[in-house]
Symmetry: C2
Subunit: 627 residues, 2 copies
């Protein structure tokens, strides 16, 4: 998510709004005119990042932040977004639009606003493919309570007026062999079916793109940063249906991978069908259901697909069996993630050694540093791309948590300001996400003090030992304890699940004060550990490693439950210059020294192998034991 943007002139929307309102009355799209049309941000797969063809809310109002919903009535146009985006939205939207500032007391909810502006007995339309079933339910209920009704408009009205709308991407598919996945897609299918059998479920509808990519051991590049492809899957006990752009299946490796041309056991033969046909195919499946048969679908799936399944047959689940299985990495995936992190650390050691040399010349900027990081990563084996937009921020920009440097905001790295780099990459063997905060001159006592509190929090999570079955949110306070003791805090969670050559943010586990329904941590899960501290207008500090959940062996074993702890996969030195060692306990100093010993040993060997001498020297210097 980008928190920065170009301070630009607003998008002129007079003509677009005229066309949209015309469409809202056009019986080509709807039986009866609608009095309001809702444009959520999102695609049909609950994706966090969007393909350009799905950026409909941006198209209609001009605002391109990650979160926002636009509603257009016959007379009004309003857009709801949260505090991160108030300034940006107000600058990107023209005065046909009212900015609805979420989180402020005086701001009406979408429902209340609609009720306040609509004539009696109005009809409100929305594309059922881009609204989640539960959101539909809430909105529908609220409108019905005021005498209005919510209707599904099958043709998207933005698409109807969006003349140069990009086509839905259909990038080349990459097949992953056992050496990367550890399990064939057939193995995964069998495991899924045994979960279904356990819960007496006949069919499972997969809608999340990363789950489908994981299940079939396929990757695409339809969405920037996320190695996924647009598809749906419907799995029965004897049936596998995969819905995607059929042209993608022309590639022999893909046909071979899915065994499309090989006679195979009926229950492992994949029936492919066009992406758009998922709706009618799911209808057909549901029409043939026995009286007690149940269909699993995520409770975040689109209203359109969810409602195809008759209520009596529908079992909504917060986390699908694929989501849960994908979260626990197998030995091959863990090995891949380790390799990816070694390569990533090599690139970062090179970057930091280079920065040390270049910064004094005054020629390195946030953007050029990020570009250099990407260049160095791209030299590593099996590099695919970045895993998210690099947050490369100097001084005050570091305090903007989701900052992304743009020409208008670009600062030069110097010896006087803190530099925060939060970046990561996709490699075929794994996904990385690492943040280091550095000072290339002399940090102030206050900068060191707060950095050290953040480090103490990072260590407290990373070194925590906790019983099997513990949910991640129970560890969040460990990351804050040292900051809290000094009256400080940070306003974001501490960690998120990380995919293996998949999305850099994935469920169902995480470490956050928000007690969303996270699943218990299990050995093999991979999460980030990233506490921070942000001083508005001055600097930002964050220390982030990706860590693997591993069994721990403490002295005792209460009720044979077993214990867990974390093993860092990220192996990049933490700048000792920023640490006030007086504030560390002996245990914490030992942790830092042991961590740096591992960095030196593992990354040093790889730097040596790759003949990157300067980076190796830098690594050795930066991993000296602290006293």
């Amino acid at each position: 998510e980008a928190g920065a943007y170009a301070a630009m002139s607003p998008k002129i929307t007079v003509e677009l709004l005229r066309q949209l309102r015309q469409a809202m009355r056009n019986t080509k799209y709807i039986a009866e005119p609608i009095q309001a049309y809702i444009v959520p941000s999102g695609d049909a797969h609950q994706s966090e990042n969007l393909a350009p063809c799905d950026c409909r809310r941006e198209f209609i109002c001009g605002f391109n932040g990650s979160a926002g919903t636009a509603i257009v009535t016959e007379k009004h146009a309003a857009m709801w977004t949260d505090g991160r985006y108030f300034l940006q939205a107000s600058q990107q939207m023209d005065n046909n639009w009212t900015l609805m500032k979420m989180g402020l007391k005086e701001t009406l909810s979408q429902e209340d606003w609609l009720i306040s502006v609509l004539p009696e007995n109005s009809t409100v339309g929305v594309d059922p493919w881009i609204i989640a079933a539960d959101q539909w339910k809430n909105m529908s209920k609220a409108l019905a309570g005021a005498g209005h009704s919510l209707v599904a408009v099958q043709d998207n009205l933005i698409d109807a007026i969006w003349m140069d709308r990009p086509t839905r991407p259909s990038t080349q598919l990459l097949t992953l062999g056992l050496g990367f996945t550890g399990l064939t897609w057939q193995d995964k299918m069998t495991a899924l079916r045994s979960k279904m059998a356990e819960r007496k479920i006949s069919w499972f509808v997969a809608t999340a793109l990363d789950e489908i990519a994981w299940l079939f051991n396929l990757r695409g590049s339809d969405i920037e940063y996320d190695p996924v492809f647009f598809a749906y899957a419907i799995v029965g006990m004897n049936t596998i249906r995969l819905f995607l752009d059929i042209k993608r299946l022309a590639v022999p490796t893909v046909r071979e991978h899915l065994q499309l041309d090989t006679p195979s056991k009926a229950e492992l033969s994949v029936q492919t069908a066009p992406y758009e046909s998922v709706f009618t195919e799911l209808q057909a499946v549901c029409a043939s259901l026995g009286p007690k048969e149940k269909v699993w679908i995520s409770d975040k799936a689109s209203c359109a697909l969810t409602q195809v399944i008759p209520k009596a047959h529908r079992t909504l689940i917060p986390y699908t069996p694929l989501c849960l299985a994908k979260a626990v990495k197998n030995a091959t995936e863990i090995q891949g993630m380790k390799m990816a992190h070694i390569k990533d650390a090599v690139a970062l050691c090179e970057l930091f050694a280079w920065l040390e040399k270049e910064i004094p010349k005054g020629t390195v900027t946030e953007i050029s540093a990020a570009d250099k990081a990407e260049e160095l990563r791209s030299q590593q084996k099996d590099f695919v791309g970045l895993s998210f937009p690099s947050i490369s921020s100097v001084g005050p920009n570091g305090a903007i948590i989701h900052y992304k440097p743009l020409p208008e905001t670009n600062r030069t790295l110097s010896l006087n300001e803190i530099y925060l780099l939060d970046s990561g990459a996709q490699y075929i063997d794994g996904t990385t996400d690492v943040t280091r905060t550095m000072h290339f001159g002399s940090p102030s006592a206050y900068e060191k003090e707060t950095f050290t509190y953040v480090l103490k929090g990072h260590i407290a999570v990373s070194a925590a030992i906790f019983p099997n079955g513990t949910k991640g949110h129970l560890l969040d306070s460990f990351a804050r304890q040292a900051l809290w003791e000094s009256g400080l805090d940070y306003l974001h969670g501490t960690g998120h699940g990380v995919g293996c050559f998949l999305n850099v943010h994935e469920g169902p586990c995480g470490i956050s004060y928000k007690t969303f329904a996270d699943e218990p941590l299990e050995a093999g899960m991979i999460v980030s550990d990233e506490p921070g501290y942000y001083e508005d207008g001055l600097f930002g500090i964050r220390i982030e490693n990706v860590v693997l959940v591993v069994p721990a062996k403490p002295k005792y074993n209460y009720r044979n439950k077993g214990s867990l702890t974390f093993e860092p996969l990220t192996l990049v030195p933490i700048q000792a210059k920023m640490v006030n060692t007086d504030l560390l306990t002996q245990k914490e100093r030992d942790w830092v020294n042991e961590y740096h010993r591992q960095c030196r040993e593992t990354i040093g060997a790889e730097l040596d192998r790759q003949g990157r001498k300067e980076a190796l020297d830098w690594l050795i210097r930066e991993t000296q034991p602290i006293a």
Copy 2:
């Protein structure tokens, strides 16, 4: 809650079940026969403890644990309870009853069991006064899905067959003046109405007994341990209706307190009515509601009262404004709680000094020690009674978390086993709840080690500094960190809210790994801090103080949010002999020494004033600084 009971012969229920089944067909009580009758445990006020007349589930099946639901059909009788009570229930119930072990995979839920045993189109009855509205809804939905229906049976069928059922208690009411409450009931009424006005609420229905007692500054003794009285209240912007046994109003002090005979402003004049008339009065209130008027009621209130309020006018709330206001103690209440804890500590110092002398004689048992504690407490000013059944447990009994000594289980205190005493009292100025774990001989290294981990957890919570707005559950892991590091844990929450001369357990705050919807901690709230460790068959350790949430003043003040910490109200020495000081950090040692300095100073002065020389000597010895 009692975890121990007399291993007794089961209650013979043949005749009772015959009578109940007769009642289930008797048109005197119901229009049509019902095929099943549900007997929940609970009263009409969501009380944790019950008056004898409300122990209907115990009456019908014999099982007297704190949690359990009985269901009787024409052919079957089954009772659901949890793991704490499997043994007890199996011994207290005869073989007309099937024990349904909750928490085991193979155990059917009440709904599924009913569906499995009922003939088609059955009717299931329940007393709507003792089932919460949301439980009704869930049960009703599940039964309807299987072709059955749930009906409200207005006459309780257990009461119909319970010949010697005790009458509902109607104990003398105690009026509390400003010196105890800090606010008149009129002040509290005004504050409640301003909360109602803020949310545009016309009426509030109070159903929880402690909330009604708090609101009117009245106390009773209708329920053992809880100083409450059976009542309802309905408050409008100009109306106050109090429903209770009218005979209680014959007392002049009560009439005076409520200003029943004094002309007062209409909006502060209390209209009293019989307890039972709340139903018809609420009906009358609802009949007169304007179209947009809203009525507040707790989402835990009985189905009977909740359903009186038409859905369009009903606003369910998880925590009522009284619950929230009551939780934040005012200066007078805090002062009262401090005084109560000083008196309580005096009694406990006396007890422990006495135990030290008496135990070697081999004459002190769990029961006699608990009795002695009660006797010593009763000598203190304004003592009313105990605040819960004393958990007085020796050796292996200490590992039973909710143990209550009975003649059959009673162990003798000795120099060889750990003694755990969790006890508390009601004084007119406050409520106490304290646990100390002691060894009167020589504890083993393992006992000391685990005690020290528990102490570290206790200190970690008590000394925690955290931002304003933090919910209690975020502190729970601090209490477990040291235990977790050694592979240990305890299977209960860390703390609960404590009333001021009210229930020893109260909402809406607490410290638990269970992330129930607890409200953020605020200065003035009072909670317990009670981590523990239990070694089945050997010993139990728990260290519990009642602590007050107070503002903290750390070095910085991030975003002007302010910080909080805890101040112990309980001032009873923690046995140094049980501590392995090598396992404590210097900060923890300092905490113990500062805590003991406060015990010595505050409790020492009071022991001196009361001339309790032996206890004072004991206190001085037990509060020597540790090295």
